[in-house]
């Protein structure tokens, strides 16, 4: 049987917000709202925030990027029909969200519940996907949490990463911002380049 060839990727360009976050592009608030939370107020688990910047080869913040996140809930359950425990999910847990970098500062941020470990799924993590002008194919990476020393050491994805690059996938506690606050900067190119995944 012949296989169909994959449709090639193209950059999302600088105006990605029109399609994926219309309010940021300046379209009226009512236009196609995409603001549903990753984890609504009825979701169990520790509330966390992750903020960061995306830096280019010169160390300059990328201010036109868009990031998507995908994660399990606090019990390690995904909001997807293939998860055998899907029926135990909170009704307001989506596990997916979209964040844009600030047009001035480049800062992005998300609020969610801390993910749990899924059976056979390694250490708790957030999956990220990054698109922007100058990024021809969306970049996948993961955010792990610094507290989970043992689980991270046993994680099959982290295990494949050269040890000196592993820290690029582990968020830092942001003490100044309070409990549950993390920083995760992404370096697209150059010193400290983030590990990107071909999944």
């Amino acid at each position: 049987m012949p296989y169909l060839p994959q449709t090639p990727s193209q950059t999302a360009g600088p105006y990605v917000h029109i399609g994926l976050a219309p309010r940021l592009a300046g379209l009226p608030a009512a236009a196609m709202d995409r603001d549903a939370p990753i984890a609504g107020p009825r979701c169990a688990g520790d509330r966390i925030s992750v903020t960061g910047r995306i830096l280019d080869a010169a160390g300059a913040p990328v201010r036109d990027a868009m990031i998507e996140v995908w994660q399990a809930n606090a019990e390690g359950i995904f909001a997807h029909p293939d998860d055998p425990r899907r029926n135990e999910l909170e009704p307001d847990f989506r596990g997916w969200g979209r964040m844009a970098c600030d047009f001035e500062t480049g800062e992005w941020g998300l609020q969610t519940v801390c993910p749990g470990a899924a059976p056979g799924g390694g250490a708790p993590h957030l999956s990220l996907w990054i698109v922007a002008r100058g990024i021809n194919t969306g970049l996948a990476t993961r955010v792990y949490f610094p507290e989970n020393t043992a689980a991270n050491a046993a994680d099959p994805v982290l295990d494949m990463v050269e040890p000196h690059r592993r820290p690029t996938l582990i968020a830092a506690r942001d003490g100044a911002a309070g409990a549950g606050a993390y920083r995760f900067d992404i370096r697209l190119r150059g010193p400290g380049e983030t590990v990107f995944l071909d999944l």
Binding site: T7, Q10, T11, A12, Y15, M32, N136, A140
Partner: protein, 241 residues
């Protein structure tokens, strides 16, 4: 658990670095991507339903125009097609989002300052779910070409940006659709990041007279192929998985 995805076919997708598209130079990772069989987390992805959408979200002729307005200026077109995977299996119920410039080549975006005017009746943003057979359709106007800061003679061919989810996060795709017969296509540095001319052809929508709406709108057909999934009959499952 459904299977891992077939690998991304790097012969058909653009490389990260291409100095003719200058924005890639500071933003392309230098290290190779870490290739892994799709882990369970990224085999799954968000699911959207009709409750997430508004009635006119797929009709760009109407979704921004004030009630009673004549609608946007420009050539009225239907954009439609089939979302499939490499095994030719339809991808039903998946979210397809589009964005585009207006007929003059101007984006309704706070950061776009091109000379061409905004159209008060055009937002340039649409979304829909594929139907049970994997088909989608939008109604819009054909976008205009516009110059951009790369070389001093860099012009984007008329194009519509497409974002597609598929059934797993690792299937996520953003691309651009071009219009058959546009002489700017082979000149465009962004198009030319794709090394294989045959792969470029896959991004060129074909005029589809059978789908045109008589005395109303022309139609273009754009099919989208996402990564396929490996069958899993012999997969070793983790205990309890």
């Amino acid at each position: 658990m459904t299977g891992a995805f077939y690998p991304i076919d790097r012969r058909r997708h653009p490389p990260a670095f291409d100095d003719a598209y200058k924005s890639t130079v500071a933003r392309a990772p230098q290290f190779p991507l870490l290739s892994l069989e799709t882990p369970p987390a990224e085999r799954m992805g968000p699911v959207f339903g009709h409750a997430d959408l508004g009635e006119r979200d797929n009709d760009l002729l109407r979704n921004f125009a004030a009630p009673g307005s004549d609608g946007p200026v420009g050539e009225r077109v239907v954009l439609h097609g089939h979302v499939l995977d490499e095994d030719a299996r339809p991808v039903p119920g998946t979210l397809v989002e589009i964005w585009q410039a207006n007929a003059g080549g101007r984006y309704r975006h706070v950061n776009d300052g091109y000379l061409a005017p905004l159209d008060p009746a055009f937002g340039g943003c649409g979304r829909t779910l594929t139907d049970a057979q994997g088909y989608y359709a939008f109604r819009t106007v054909k976008p205009g070409a516009y110059p951009w800061r790369n070389g001093t003679d860099s012009w984007r061919p008329a194009h519509v940006h497409f974002s597609v989810f598929g059934s797993g996060f690792a299937q996520r795709l953003i691309t651009q659709m071009y219009f058959e017969g546009d002489p700017l296509i082979p000149l465009c540095p962004i198009v030319r990041t794709i090394p294989d001319p045959e792969a470029v052809e896959q991004l060129v929508a074909r005029l589809d007279m059978k789908a045109a709406q008589p005395f109303d709108a022309l139609a273009y057909r754009f099919d989208i192929v996402l990564r396929g999934r490996r069958a899993t009959p012999f997969e070793n499952r983790p205990e309890g998985g």
